[in-house]
């Protein structure tokens, strides 16, 4: 850099060649005439007001615009080998949401699913036990309450009703509470909801074993509901007398999380 040296001492009163309008060598001492900065164009104010206006307009039309972008991105990301489009808003695919400290891992040897509460025959299932039961495969869209949707995702596993029937629900059991081996997350369904044929204890996702990040080896799959109902890392099913609100439901999410009919949203139903 040419400016690293300290400047020399002042040498008297010659005009100082600063200023954009001053020609250094024209020999005529000019007044640079720098106006006071109050005179300048208020560019800052205009930019801020313009951004506020654009922001408001974006809020007004953003929903429709994002739908268009989503469909374009879906087409692009189908041919995108590096997955850059996944980084863009609405770039598609699952987003990882977990409320626990880390991704918990259970394997063939240490995974157990307990069924208890108001039942006649409490039970503990190993992974192999669950695989031995009748399997159901569903291909539906996954809809998150925060807005993203992943089309045509396959889940397969054991119907919740199969496990409940095997355990034999006692009166006055009328709800099912789910606990998870991350130690934090909980969910709930009414008994009626839990007996629907599209409520699964899922062992595979897209025809592969559910990965730990996606809630494996076993997660709930509540097809007709927003995805926060589909608890990851499922380890306990308890039949209760009343619905106990789950984790997010303590923070204002609807207990009856039907897609398109809850949480103030109007998404296309998924099931």
């Amino acid at each position: 850099m040419e400016n690293d040296t300290a400047p020399g001492p002042a040498d008297g009163g010659a005009p100082v060649p600063y200023g954009p309008r001053r020609e250094a060598d024209d020999g005529v001492p000019q007044d640079t005439g720098e106006p006071d900065d109050r005179d300048g164009t208020p560019v800052g104010r205009r930019l801020v007001l313009g951004m506020l206006g654009l922001g408001a307009a974006g809020v007004a039309v953003g929903g429709a615009l994002q739908d268009r972008i989503d469909s374009v991105l879906a087409r692009v990301s189908a041919k995108d080998p590096v997955g850059v489009t996944g980084l863009l808003p609405g770039g598609g695919g699952f987003r990882f949401y977990s409320v626990s400290n880390s991704v918990p891992h259970r394997s063939e040897t240490d995974y157990r699913l307990t069924v208890g509460g108001l039942v006649d025959r409490p039970a503990r299932y190993r992974l192999s036990d669950l695989r031995a039961l009748p399997q159901t495969r569903l291909v539906r869209d996954v809809q998150c309450v925060t807005g993203w949707r992943v089309p045509n995702t396959a889940f397969s596993g054991v119907r919740l009703s199969t496990l409940l029937d095997a355990a034999g629900v006692r009166r006055p059991g009328s709800a099912v509470h789910f606990t998870c081996f991350d130690g934090v997350y909980t969910e709930s369904l009414t008994l009626e909801q839990a007996r629907r044929p599209d409520m699964l204890v899922a062992l595979t996702m897209d025809d592969r074993p559910v990965t730990a990040a996606h809630g494996g080896p076993v997660r709930l799959y509540a097809a007709p509901m927003y995805f926060y109902k589909s608890a990851k890392w499922l380890s306990g099913i308890t039949v209760t007398e009343q619905v106990r609100p789950g984790y997010w439901e303590h923070y204002g999410y609807d207990v009856d999380g039907w897609v398109g009919r809850s949480n103030g949203r109007h998404d296309q139903p998924t099931s």
């Binding site: 005439g33 109050r38 994002q66 204002g252």
Partner: protein, 257 residues
């Protein structure tokens, strides 16, 4: 307006160094030096404090945003509810440093400098756009890029805070607003990430500018080479106004900061 040719620009040694003028004197170089042994005061305590607080809040905001937005980071950190809470509060606090800073006169003065474009700022911008070159000769206390960046910061903080509040309290607004707010918040976040990265890049390349914001003072040679018009902006109104049609605003006799 003529813009200076590169070979006519002030260079170190080619002109005399920047020296602040003691209050009341009109001769720029008269006996000023002994008063400022550590260079020139560029920012007051209030200003360095406001910048540091904003920078920290912005950092927290950006880190939590990345955790919420990028699945691999989210997997690493988990604790989504905590991360959301930290993001919400650090985000809504972003306007606070500037609002508190308004109590300081130096802050208000610099705010006005940042908000106004003078003719040389347009020239700076033209040079930057057409010739892809940063022209220090055309900069007052702040160059045009810094002025635009400051305005962009004010704008994005307000827009992000507004759209963030809509998502924070979803029951207060209709769904259409919420998807719109998510749209604006997400895409503007990408733009902000790029622009703030640029800001950090320029800061990383200029240790003296960083020192200015850390200690409030900059070396004279730096002020003279990077912001040569700084002094002339503070000069009293010239006897012969540039634009005779304009009325002289009050307060033309401005004092040094």
């Amino acid at each position: 307006m003529t813009s200076p040719r590169p070979d006519r620009l002030p260079r170190a040694g080619a002109h005399r160094p920047w020296t602040p003028r003691p209050r009341g004197t009109s001769r720029p170089d008269a006996a000023a030096r002994p008063h400022e042994p550590d260079g020139v005061r560029r920012f007051s305590r209030a200003e360095t404090w406001a910048h540091r607080s904003l920078a920290w809040l912005m950092g927290v905001c950006a880190v939590t945003a990345a955790i919420l937005y990028l699945p691999p980071l989210g997997e690493l950190v988990g604790r989504r509810r905590l991360v959301v809470t930290v993001h919400e509060w650090s985000g809504i606090a972003l306007p606070l440093p500037a609002l508190l800073g308004l109590a300081s006169r130096a802050f208000r003065d610099d705010l006005r400098r940042l908000g106004r474009f003078l003719p040389h700022d347009w020239a700076w911008l033209r040079t930057a756009v057409r010739r892809r070159r940063r022209e220090p000769g055309l900069a007052g206390k702040f160059n045009a890029g810094q002025k635009l960046y400051a305005a962009f910061t004010a704008g994005f903080v307000l827009v992000m805070a507004g759209t963030g509040l809509i998502m924070w309290f979803p029951r207060l607004t209709p769904l259409l607003w919420r998807t719109g707010a998510t749209f604006v918040h997400d895409w503007l976040a990408l733009l902000v990430a790029a622009v703030v990265a640029g800001h950090v890049y320029f800061a990383a390349a200029d240790p003296e500018a960083r020192r200015g914001l850390r200690t409030g003072r900059v070396p004279r040679w730096w002020a003279a080479s990077e912001h040569p018009l700084w002094r002339t902006e503070q000069r009293p109104r010239p006897v012969r106004p540039r634009d005779p049609g304009r009325r002289e605003p009050p307060g033309g006799q401005r004092e040094l900061p």
